[in-house]
Amino acid sequence: MSLLTMSGVSAFYGPSQALFDVNLSVDQGEVVALMGRNGMGKSTTIKVICRLLQHRGGDVTLDGSNISGVPSYRVARMGVGLVPEGRRCFKDLTVYENLVAAARRGEWDFELVTELFPRLKERRDQAAGTLSGGEQQMLAIARALMTNPRLLLLDEATEGLAPVVRQEIWAAISNLKANAGLTILVVDKSLSELRQIADRGVILEKGRSVWTGQFDELTEELSDRYLGV
Amino acid sequence: MKRERYLNFALMALLLFVPLLAWLLDEPFLITLTTRAVIFAIAGVGLNLALGFGGLVSFGHAAFFGLGGYAMGILAHHAQTYTPLMEWPLVIEGTKSMLVVWPVAILTGALAALAIGALSLRTSGVYFIMITLAFGQMLFYFTISWSAYGGEDGLSIYVRNSFPGLNTMDPIQYFAICYGLLLLVLFGVSRVSGSAFGLMLRAAKQNEERVQAVGQTPYRLYLIAFTISGAITGLAGALFADLNRFVSPTMLSWQVSGEIMVFVILGGVGRVYGPVAGAALFILLEHTLGGLSEYWHVYLGAILLGVVLFARGGLYGLLAGREVAHD
């Protein structure tokens, strides 16, 4: 059964329309990659799902219930965890406080997330604003995990991370999927890395979902046309 | 953009039309009231340069307004009592000529703003709001106890200062002077806003780091803007004192700083003509509501609240739409 579906969704920033008729579904336990060039609406789609942006047309359902008009904190409590574009750590709070602020009951706690990112443990009492770019990125991922989500939204979660760390994160994500049954919607720029972890892909072009399918169906012609690779 | 231009035109035409009509109908008070709005508009346009374009929320602009007023008051006081202002090292006489009073008021405002700004700009944000308030309050208390010039009672000037070829005691002629100055100030400010300095200043408001990275020092930009702003507000102060033929410490009180700020916000922060609309609306409200009930402040409050909540970007935001970048 689909955990998340979007059908015919349109969304606006003020008067300008950013999404037109976006269709997308993510099944329980699945990893879906959302792809497209810069400015095509990937982040907007993510924002609509966690209600940082209210869509205008179409339906968004989570676990079978329609979430139009539901405030973002409710959606988060329904089990949606967000790693936003640009990290958005709470810069004046310490690493520890950043994590505590988000914590909700479940398997993930301070010990477990810092096992995944030992660097964060070292920097426990440093203000998040003074962390290095990559450290902040780790913090953003850890913070999302602290909410113990069922559906994890990763918007360019590996931006600015060193290649080794990226690999660790992809490995951890595969692990989460396999062991914890976590459902993941991921935006990332490296097609080759997405191929390795995602079950399916969705391509956005100028605010429309233009392709959905398995990665082996993603022909070179398609990826050249829509992704520029 | 176009809409904004029409709006500017309509606003200025209205400000001209009302007193002319009042003049024909022999309603001198209406002329005086409009003059008051025009003078407050000048003060607001001055503040807007710092606040709207530089993001410098000054809660102490009444100081420059009041100093401009006192510059005029003191000069005229000495002239009307025939006592020199200063005898050593050189003799300075008072004067009742606007052409001398204005530059003195402008210079006083500018120098005060330069000094206060140089110190205050070490801080930013809310701290800047409060430190400018502090300097304003210092000057306020100073004038209250400045017994040489009347202390809290202030100074009365029996007739307005003179302007060559005009009878300044005639309301419509004095209005014409103030209106002319407003036009001049607006012209100047709109040029500055579109200039290289204006572009950089407004960039500093949005992102200081960016401005530094292109080789500019925000502090210097701010200080220049603040000084010009103080100068304009000082001029407004001199005009205001002349309008009332009276200057007192009230002109330097924090409530006046607040009011000038209200004109700017009400009209639309960072819009060249915004403060004009704000001052006009505020004076209109003050005047019409005052008759309604003893508790008219409640209505005034409710209307102001309505504007903030429902008209983002003030009157200009409401009527001319979101600010469009100049191109």
Binding site: - | F29, G151, E152, D153, S156, Y158, E294
Partner: protein, 357 residues
């Protein structure tokens, strides 16, 4: 012929109580006169000098009033009165009496129906002598009226000063001053702290354990304020040109009708408003305002029944009147004042000799 009065007074904000009392007293007299040829235009000055000036312009230019009145505060009066009389209008002051307008700056069209600012303080100085107070500690806010107050007190007071303090205008905490009073060895206190400042001072003084006789002008012991001070004011001596127990028929009728109409006891400000209106009405009875000289003479004659009993104008158009010493007492639930003696009899002011009209 009718007469148009412009009243500019403080009706909103912190100091509104005084303006409302003056207005109510004034309008009561107008109503009781039964005349329908007096038109009163009332405007709120918000206690801002520039607004007062604007309103005066409006009243004179647009409303074309014959007489202006109503201003409560000296600094507003200083802003409005000179220009008003310069334009040939009459101004009757129901409250403020700055010295500048009593001496050199006096004007034949300016009449003060309340007091010259120093009067009540002078009477307090005289009272201190008669009560055998020899070492007063005196304090007032640091602004012109405060300085005038202490000067007025010292003009008549003959004893020594244990201390003299100027406090911040609008100050609310007086612990520091009270400590200085305690340490000074004073035998009495004289203070001029109008409005909320006086309330705060008295409450804090009552709680400080210092127990010296306190004297003040009526402004801090007025009917509108006493209830807020409560028992802390009991026994305090204060000086006033009016009191609700001044024994004459006009006053008794005024107190009764004011209380009946507005549901509260009148204050001295109300009495001043009432007297101002009656003075005006008396002048209307004998002259037409269009004939300025005749009307002025009629005002000068002060031929009306004042709530204060005897009332006359001195050469500078300021009152010559008795100033009483009152004591704060409790009558049932209500705190009020009772006359204990006359502080100064037929008292004029110190500036009259400077006035050349």
């Amino acid at each position: 012929e009718g007469l148009k009065v412009g009243m500019i007074t403080t009706l909103s904000g912190g100091g509104a109580g005084l303006g409302i009392d003056v207005r109510d007293g004034f309008m009561l007299a107008v109503e009781q006169s039964g005349r329908d040829d007096i038109e009163v235009v009332i405007e709120d000055d918000q206690r801002k000098p520039d607004v007062a000036v604007q309103l005066a312009d409006k009243m004179i230019q647009s409303e074309k009033v014959d007489v202006l009145t109503g201003i409560i505060w000296s600094n507003l009066a200083m802003a409005v009165v000179p220009a008003t009389v310069a334009q040939g209008k009459f101004y009757l002051s129901p409250n403020a009496g700055p010295s500048a307008l009593a001496g050199k700056g006096c004007n034949k069209n300016y009449f003060n129906v309340a007091w010259q600012n120093d009067n009540l303080h002078e009477a307090a100085g005289a009272y201190a002598n008669s009560a055998d107070l020899k070492n007063s500690f005196i304090l007032a806010p640091n602004y012109p009226a405060g300085k005038d107050a202490l000067t007025g007190y010292k003009r008549f007071y003959e004893g020594d000063l244990a201390g003299e303090i100027y406090t911040k205008l609008g100050q609310t905490d007086y612990a520091s001053e009270i400590a200085q009073i305690r340490a000074s060895g004073a035998d009495s206190i004289y203070f001029f702290l109008p409005g909320g400042m006086g309330i705060s001072f008295l409450k804090q003084y009552a709680d400080s354990g210092v127990n010296l006789p306190v004297v003040g002008p009526a402004f801090s012991f007025d009917q509108g304020i006493l209830q807020a001070v409560g028992a802390a004011a009991l026994g305090v001596k204060n000086t006033s040109q009016w009191s609700k127990d001044i024994d004459n028929a006009t006053n008794a009728a005024f107190v009764e009708s004011f209380a009946a109409k507005y549901g509260r006891l009148p204050s001295l400000y109300a009495s001043q408003g009432f007297d101002t209106a009656n003075l005006l009405i008396s002048a209307m009875g004998s002259a037409d305002v269009a004939d300025q000289d005749a009307f002025r003479a009629a005002l000068q004659a002060a031929d009306f029944d004042s709530t204060r009993g005897d009332f006359a104008f001195g050469p500078n158009n300021h009152p010559i009147q008795d100033i009483y010493v009152r004591e704060v007492v409790q009558e049932g639930d209500v705190f009020t004042n009772k006359i204990v003696s006359v502080g100064l009899e037929d008292h004029g002011d110190a500036y009259a000799s400077d006035c050349k009209m």
